[in-house]
Symmetry: C2
Subunit: 458 residues, 2 copies
């Protein structure tokens, strides 16, 4: 056994682990930070779907460079940590004993497949979407030779996979159990806009339907049977039915867990043991309003957690200002961007909060004759009492990607619609809506109007 010593050991090199390592090194430059990860090569997780179209076209175009870690003076080892002794502070890996002072679990997540479909994973042509370079490379090679695809699952990975396969000329069916796609991120009327685009891309979209069975022929997939009894012939099935926390190692180490299987952490990403942290998809998350546990899994949330943990390893250096995940998210469907943050109106009505909604549809450029002008729809959700903005949904051009971050900052900073109404924004013909028709301020004004109706005697 060889011995290795470090101050901070981070197990996992995805977004959470790598941001945690960088942040730790920036905050505590004298500490030795070691990242151990299983794969030599790593991909950008959210860009995996683009490998299957001309957008990226290959796994090679989606590889993450190791240069930043080297630049920051972070050490890296490739291998699988088999077990951790949290009392002795030793991690065991092949022929290595790694002695640490602080440990961060950043072991990520793995695809979730419903128990009734799990044995079909052995069939040729049935895939999940793991963050695994050799697997995705093989999947790419196989799918390139086939024409018909069924994608199961209408979360963002399912939709992106379906759209990229379709763009690449395949015959695609998309099946989802929910009545509408992207449930939880968008209200029904917004999801319906996305469904129109999906259908116009020649995707056979089947909502509100579960998969009963995956059909085979000599160990090769040949179709799926829906719960309604309908059968769809196919060469490929992609199960994009969610992810679950990857906590094998933490379980062996007897860590405490949250409801959905994530490692229990406080808001500084500390476990019950003050020398052990967990970040990213393997850690427990809280909803920013209910403060209850949440199943949200996003690389951006993971990165934020990595930053919190990285600066809190040796005590609380910076006070955490915001509690819980706001589930902030964006994607591109066809030539429109869809983005969401906080809670939807439907979620709120299911019991979380007494809310008022304002929505405005305009153009993302001004005047409308600007060549790339597109429709821009913005919806805000605010507390009836107090007017704090707690949710937003955007459909628009590429600008939606940063506009949702503006809504995210509003939510995190407790901004009210009263502030948003007169907020100063930059507007420019080629970049934004008109100053007179800026959708966020109009949506905020609509909410203020609605609230004040209940406050006056008129």
């Amino acid at each position: 056994m060889q011995k290795t010593v470090c101050d901070v050991l981070i197990i996992g090199g995805g977004p959470a682990g790598s941001v945690c390592a960088m942040t730790a090194k920036m905050n505590f430059p004298d500490k030795e930070v070691l990242v151990v990860r299983e794969q030599e090569l790593q991909m950008v997780p959210c860009a995996i779907p683009y490998i299957f179209s001309q957008t990226l076209g290959s796994v090679e175009n989606n590889l993450v460079s190791c240069a930043p870690a080297q630049k920051f003076g972070i050490s890296t080892m490739i291998g699988k940590v088999e077990s951790v002794d949290t009392d002795k502070k030793i991690a065991y890996m092949d022929e290595y004993e790694i002695f640490f002072d602080k440990l961060v679990f950043a072991t990520g997540s793995k695809p979730f497949v419903h128990p009734t479909l799990r044995e079909s994973l052995n069939l040729k042509g049935v895939f999940t979407v793991p963050k695994n370079v050799p697997y995705i490379r093989e999947m790419k090679e196989y799918t390139d030779t086939k024409n018909r695809v069924v994608v199961v699952g209408t979360g963002f990975i399912g939709i992106e996979m379906a759209m990229e396969f379709a763009e690449n000329g395949k015959e695609v069916t998309l099946v989802g159990r929910s009545r509408h796609i992207l449930k939880g991120s968008f209200d029904s009327e917004v999801a319906a806009m996305a469904e129109e685009i999906i259908k116009s891309a020649n995707i056979n979209y089947i909502g509100g339907e579960g998969v009963d069975k995956i059909l085979e022929n000599n160990g090769v997939v040949c179709g799926i049977k829906l719960q309604s009894g309908a059968i769809i012939d196919t060469d490929i099935v992609v199960l994009a039915t969610g992810f679950k926390a990857n906590t094998d190692l933490a379980e062996k180490a007897n860590m405490k867990f949250g409801h959905y299987g994530g490692i229990w952490v406080d808001e500084y990403m500390r476990t019950e043991n003050r020398d052990i942290f967990a970040v990213g998809d393997c850690a427990m998350r809280r909803h920013f309003i209910t403060k209850q546990q949440s199943k949200v899994m996003l690389a951006s949330t993971s990165s934020a957690e990595g930053r919190v943990a990285g600066s809190s390893l040796y005590g609380v250096k910076y006070l955490k200002h915001f509690s819980g995940t706001i589930a902030i998210f964006s994607t591109v469907i066809g030539d429109m961007a869809f983005a969401s943050a906080g809670i939807t109106c439907e979620e709120a009505k299911e019991g979380h909060a007494d809310v008022v909604v304002g929505a405005f549809e305009g153009m993302n450029r001004h005047p409308a004759a600007i060549p790339d002008a597109q429709k821009q729809y913005v919806k805000l959700v605010a507390m009836r009492n107090g007017g704090q903005i707690i949710g937003g949904q955007i459909v628009g051009g590429q600008e939606a990607g940063e506009m949702i971050n503006l809504i995210g900052a509003m939510i995190e900073s407790g901004m009210t619609i009263y502030q948003a109404m007169t907020m100063q924004v930059a507007t420019q013909p080629k970049l934004t809506a008109a100053p007179t028709m800026y959708p966020l301020t109009i949506a905020a004004t609509m909410i203020a109007q609605e609230i004040s109706k209940g406050c006056t005697l008129q």
Copy 2:
């Protein structure tokens, strides 16, 4: 004399006036709101430069629709108000006497030309850039027949005019008195990036030089003489040397004025007379840090003022949460967007504030193989004590247009770099930087590092 009666009279129909009218109607639906404006047809002010290239190509493509005003139930009259009797509450226009209860000056601004050059305005081929449809139409027709242009002034209108003329194949010289373009919005190193793009568009850029004289030949411009003595031959001179408040009417009405000529107003856009308001470029503005008067003129700022006034006409309905203009601004130069909010580092060092700066350059997509990936540079300026974000500059793709609004919201909500460090942002390969390399959080972290150096004994 015909008599007309309204509750709220708004003089001027630009962004400030029209937003004020809409907001007034939304807040006080029972009040009769009348907008009087001089021009039958109106343009989007910020899009005027795009008339001179293929982007819009004509004045017609830049006209503003009157539909929103009609939809909101706002009345409109075309004509010039000659005088106002603020005691009797009557405005005089041609054959009309307009009786009002509340009056809003929204008379905008007009081009400023240095006294030594003013008489050259009579020459054929010498233009300013007023928000005037017949003038711009004539200017478009004239410039279309000529090849050589000198644009004087390196504010955003000057730069946009120069770039659009160049795109349209003209031989363009751009002359500015400041050493760098866009002074006040960008620090020198950011301005230098823009200057590189301007030069690579074959524009002859001459910085740090004033114009001594405009040269003529039989009443037609033929060149300019710089203060250095150099002479540049040209067919057209465009003087984009700033704007000044248009306050002729307010002067006749004996209103009180601020330092730079704007009508004196409090933070609710009220003049000393509680029934009279002023909004937009004709009104006085304050700097958000020094609270001293500011010369900033932007349609977006004007719109925000219109919203404040529109809801405050009959008493303070909504508490104003933020005081002063943050000068938030964006533009496109070549294929890059440049955006700025708050104060620059150079401004701060000139005496406003003790600040720390963080800057990060990455890519606006991830991985970098995404086809439209571009460089993205973000710089933040924060208070050393307290860490409040008070300025930001962005160079990037089109997303910079909304990303600067995120920085604006951070400034307005008093967000600190400590909050920004762990802010939750949405990231998506086709829309944003990587979650691990999101430039705002990295710039904020750099500032926190710098501040904490001064706070510890290490």
